[in-house]
């Protein structure tokens, strides 16, 4: 795999500098068998510096997770060396098992079988609330 070009796969571009590792972790890229390149502090005209992740396979990227982490990330789908799709991201209405509730009094802390569900309550401020206890979490991008 050449780091600057991939044949078929996904390029996550315009990740805010230093945040690529969060993306790597939330998308569970460590569990992939294919080559994955993580580039930090790449020069960018628009952002000064940015991170880029290249995945050398057309996996199903969870766009909800990416949208929550940072709706500014660009998702480029590459097939046979050609850019075939640029996906737009937005804050998802609902997050299931992406983040966990930090409220120690929340039922999710004791009922292991429950999904961790957060609902978007304020798009402008990126505020999510736990479906069970209403505890607030903010999108990482807008923090």
């Amino acid at each position: 795999m050449k780091v600057d070009s991939i044949h078929t796969g996904i390029v996550l571009d315009h990740i805010r500098a230093g945040r690529g590792m969060d993306v790597y972790r939330y998308l569970h890229l460590d569990e992939l068998d294919c080559p994955v390149a993580y580039m930090r502090n790449v020069r960018s005209e628009a952002m000064g510096r940015k991170d880029i992740i290249k995945i050398d396979a057309n996996i199903n990227v969870d766009l909800d997770v990416l949208g929550y982490l940072d709706p500014g990330i660009t998702v480029n789908i590459i097939v046979d060396g050609q850019l075939v799709e640029k996906k737009k991201l937005s804050l998802p209405e609902k997050l299931t098992n992406v983040i966990t509730c930090k409220n120690p009094r929340c039922i999710t802390t004791v009922e292991g079988a429950l999904d961790q569900v957060f609902l978007l309550k304020d798009r402008a401020r990126g505020v999510y609330r736990c479906m069970f206890c209403d505890a607030e979490r903010k999108s990482k991008a807008l923090r």
């Binding site: 009094r105 039922i107 009922e111 429950l114 069970f132 206890c133 209403d134």
Partner: protein, 306 residues
């Protein structure tokens, strides 16, 4: 299937219909005494609250139904390590409707995901207590004949008082409501309530004494100021009398003020106020029984229609 987890699960119209039915039940209780014959209410109290449990049980019995359940976690299968979800699924096979109280926030919502019958949240930690709010709304409407166009004073612990938070949420949906929030600085309403009121452009003011706003109030909702909420004893002693309602503070109040309190009270309302016709906190208790009757019947009717 419909549940009551949060008061805003119901539309203004649905609440109106439940309050109407509650009024009818107060006017003619005999007409409803067989309404739910053969139906079973399960009261699952994973945390004790005798007052709330009795109110639910009285409501179901008044409708001709029966009740079963437990009154604390150690007498339930939870003590043997059963998950909440399994308990709910099991009990929903034995009953037609469940009233559930739990120390963990969101537990009734979690239960509703697995239940075969409607769930009523009878209190989940410091989070929600929608039947208290229904009781408050019923009391205000019976006193005033309306739920909009009034100045509502909330006094005491506005930071941790969940009854205050849900009543503000519920009353915010009616036109012409103005809130006056009376509390020590350390017990003001949480920021998110402030934000929400501002967002919806609902007029509100935060003040530190009852006296300065008393003449304006149509409703005064009193809550307890608990000692353990203060950082030190001195602050508590300095402030506690400020938030005790007595006949002297009421001297400038409107003649048709309604004084509410979710009860139990400790000392925040002097017993010398009890015989004042403006004190309606014991009517509230009675209203609580009838509004729970109306709620149980409504949820079961909705279920039959579905």
């Amino acid at each position: 299937m419909r549940h009551l987890i949060d008061i805003t699960d119901f539309t203004v119209e649905e609440i109106e219909a439940i309050l109407d039915l509650g009024d009818e039940m107060i006017a003619d209780p005999a007409a409803y005494k067989e309404a739910l014959r053969g139906k079973i209410l399960a009261t699952l109290f994973f945390e004790p609250s005798t007052r709330t449990r009795l109110s639910f049980e009285s409501a179901m019995l008044s409708l001709g139904g029966s009740v079963l359940g437990f009154s604390s976690a150690d007498s339930s299968s939870t003590a043997k390590g059963e998950s909440l979800m399994d308990t709910i699924r099991t009990v929903s096979c034995y009953s037609d409707i469940i009233a559930m109280r739990h120390p963990k926030e969101g537990a009734p919502m979690a239960g509703s995901l697995k239940s075969y019958v409607p769930i009523i949240n009878a209190g989940d930690g410091g989070h929600n207590h929608p039947t208290q709010t229904l009781t408050d709304l019923m009391t205000i409407r019976r006193c005033k004949g309306r739920l909009g166009n009034m100045v509502v004073g909330m006094c005491g612990d506005l930071k941790f008082g969940r009854t205050v938070h849900s009543l503000i949420g519920a009353m915010s949906r009616y036109e012409g409501v103005e809130f006056v929030l009376i509390s020590p600085p350390e017990l003001k309403v949480p920021a998110y309530i402030n934000d929400e009121l501002k967002k919806k452009a609902i007029p509100f003011r935060e003040v530190e004494t009852m006296e300065e706003v008393m003449p304006e109030l149509d409703v005064l909702y009193m809550t307890r100021v608990q000692k353990e909420r203060f950082f030190n004893e001195a602050d508590y002693i300095r402030l506690k009398d400020t938030y005790i309602l007595d006949p002297e503070k009421l001297r400038t109040a409107k003649t048709d003020l309604s004084i509410l309190h979710p009860l139990p009270r400790v000392n925040e309302i002097s017993t010398r106020v009890d015989d004042d016709p403006r004190a309606v906190y014991f009517d509230q208790v009675r209203n609580g029984r009838f509004v729970r009757m109306a709620l149980i019947k409504t949820l079961l009717d909705w279920r039959n229609e579905a």
